[in-house]
Symmetry: C2
Subunit: 419 residues, 2 copies
Amino acid sequence: MGKLARKVALIGAGMSKFGQHFPEKRNPDMWVDAWIDAVEKTDNGIEPKDIDACYVGNYSSDLFNHQGHLGPQMADLVGLTPKPAARFEGACASSGIAMRQAILAIASGVHDVIAVCGCECMTEQPTVNVTDVLATASDNIFEYPAGATFPGLYGTIASAHFKKYGTTAEDLMNVGIKNHANGAENPYAQMQQSIKDLMNSKKARYEKQGREVPDWQNELDFLKSSSNPIIAYPLRLFDCSLITDGAACLFLAAENKAKDFTDTPLWIAGTGQGSAALSVHDREEITSFAATKEAARQAYEMAGMGPKDIQIAEVHDCFTIAEILAMEDLGFYEKGKAAEAVRNGESKLDGKLPINTSGGLKSKGHPVGATGAAQAVEIFKQMRGIAERNRQVQFDVERAMTHNLGGSGASCVVTIYEK
Amino acid sequence: MGKLARKVALIGAGMSKFGQHFPEKRNPDMWVDAWIDAVEKTDNGIEPKDIDACYVGNYSSDLFNHQGHLGPQMADLVGLTPKPAARFEGACASSGIAMRQAILAIASGVHDVIAVCGCECMTEQPTVNVTDVLATASDNIFEYPAGATFPGLYGTIASAHFKKYGTTAEDLMNVGIKNHANGAENPYAQMQQSIKDLMNSKKARYEKQGREVPDWQNELDFLKSSSNPIIAYPLRLFDCSLITDGAACLFLAAENKAKDFTDTPLWIAGTGQGSAALSVHDREEITSFAATKEAARQAYEMAGMGPKDIQIAEVHDCFTIAEILAMEDLGFYEKGKAAEAVRNGESKLDGKLPINTSGGLKSKGHPVGATGAAQAVEIFKQMRGIAERNRQVQFDVERAMTHNLGGSGASCVVTIYEK
């Protein structure tokens, strides 16, 4: 793997509010919201004439919305026709892949500025269909017909991690508590409530209804109760990310163009991508994702950095166990040591390595095709010092990472940013 | 639009037999067939260790096969795991886009050798569902609910072309007659029968059955009869491409690596991509495809060539009218003049600009996501002088073009090859 033939910068980034928006808004509407937000966050502004191409990350508008061929549709909505427009798919890593391809396309010399769209409108389908659509990203011969939807596959992975490393259900709950606390500070998040807020509002509701108020002393008590039902053992409801509609928009530019748009471009220091067997049973081990390790290896090598250089990271917490795996597979912690770090608060906003300051997929929401691009939006804000409310980290972020996973880990894109 | 930062070559190409293969073969099986064929056609051989990434063009395995996330699946089947793997979608231009992104990724300096997969398994669905799946690449708010499937949209385009330029139904039939004659010489084609063969076998069948034998003097008589029913006026059955299962495989390499695999690399002289409004009614004109014109403009500019430099071309004849439009929009003929050129035999195998020597989508078949890559396979064969049976053109092809269209023309990729 070689170096980028020329430097590429992230010059602007924005997103729609994440949440349940159908039928008021669909992919086209949310994409326009994200576009406007990103234009506003590009220092000197940016216009369609400045942009060479539109790269769309989307998992399955085919199945969610019966609309394929999103590339030209999204390009047309923001005035980019007749420029190149295409869709990129790698399950939940779709817009991470779109972003990576945009980086490579700019480095190739052919394009100077590219708009990346990530979008997914999931709530057009009832929940049972959403599970079915998502399961289409697993193996439809060996996994899906056996009933192994993603909660089941990640439950299996969690059980194996518990057995091998002594990780516990409580360790997973700590991830969710942290991410919800962050999401409460993100006005773009789907669930802007901490677990404590959720617990207290439930207590208040019970009291108001004259029902016996549960004796929950803290968030863990609440998360261990029947208010947090098992979805796929050992994963409970609050171990699972959300079903979400949303879009994100990124503007990427070649070095010689970046300065036209901002005095403080964020450079792409490294990009890496890995793959693994689609079926979990086909892999050598399931307590680690080979695709993450390969993507990270490439990204670190290109950046000339190691895990210790990363100051904040957005990682793909589609399930709480996935955040634990990512912390280990990205090299931040030895295998089996991430849970302890979470317990010690190291990944909190004020910890030594803040992770998912956005609230993560768990609390910000997970419109699958938008997630990779939305991770970059959070890094953009944190590195610029413009994260909303009380979630801006209290140091100057010079180096950061996004980690975007697809399916049960068969696809992964890792990106390293530096000032 | 800039130049490629480094030169990229097509070093090997192959395909599966096109046809109706489900349930014996699905995308994974056909992809392996195509891979083996391409390895055999790579002079010095090629192995997984030589390849950096797997780029998969596929329109909608989601809807055709209920299987998304093809990138890692296809990579794993040929031993490329854990290398980068992703899927690229632009309706019927999907593998043209995958190929283009592979070219840019190599030019970027990050990858040296990439395997491009194009695949689609359509016959898992009954024909009525196939029409529905394909219509998902049109606008699902304005076109699809109004019943405007692709035969209807292309019928509208044909009618407008008839009115504006005096093109006739017979002109379209001449395109089909030529392409079937070529396809009869292609052992990989779905329909290896000329229109004359089809006519004569129908006559023979009638005679055998004791029925009155139609008095068809030539192919046009046959194509004007009720044996060639109207599908969407003015398009008849033999104006429409086929519903097909198939896959194609391309190996692309950076200049410094290409020589390891062959002494006669085919260079990518130019690549261009364009887009247009998804809905036909949103376009300024419908007798010309703006996306084709833009893609061609970029490709010619990059190659430093013009239409007169192209010696053979594979163009996207999803309907016969689309071949007429392509001949004009690519600049080979003035608007309204292509039909006459077809009538004069200029686009035949022995004409001055042979078009669709493979048989085209019309006769070779149109597994939508495989088509763009399969067009490159034919160019590879013609430029190498290894086209099967009697369809090798009788001159040394130094410069050639592929034209891959998506939907009703909302996406287009044009590639120019030179020795």
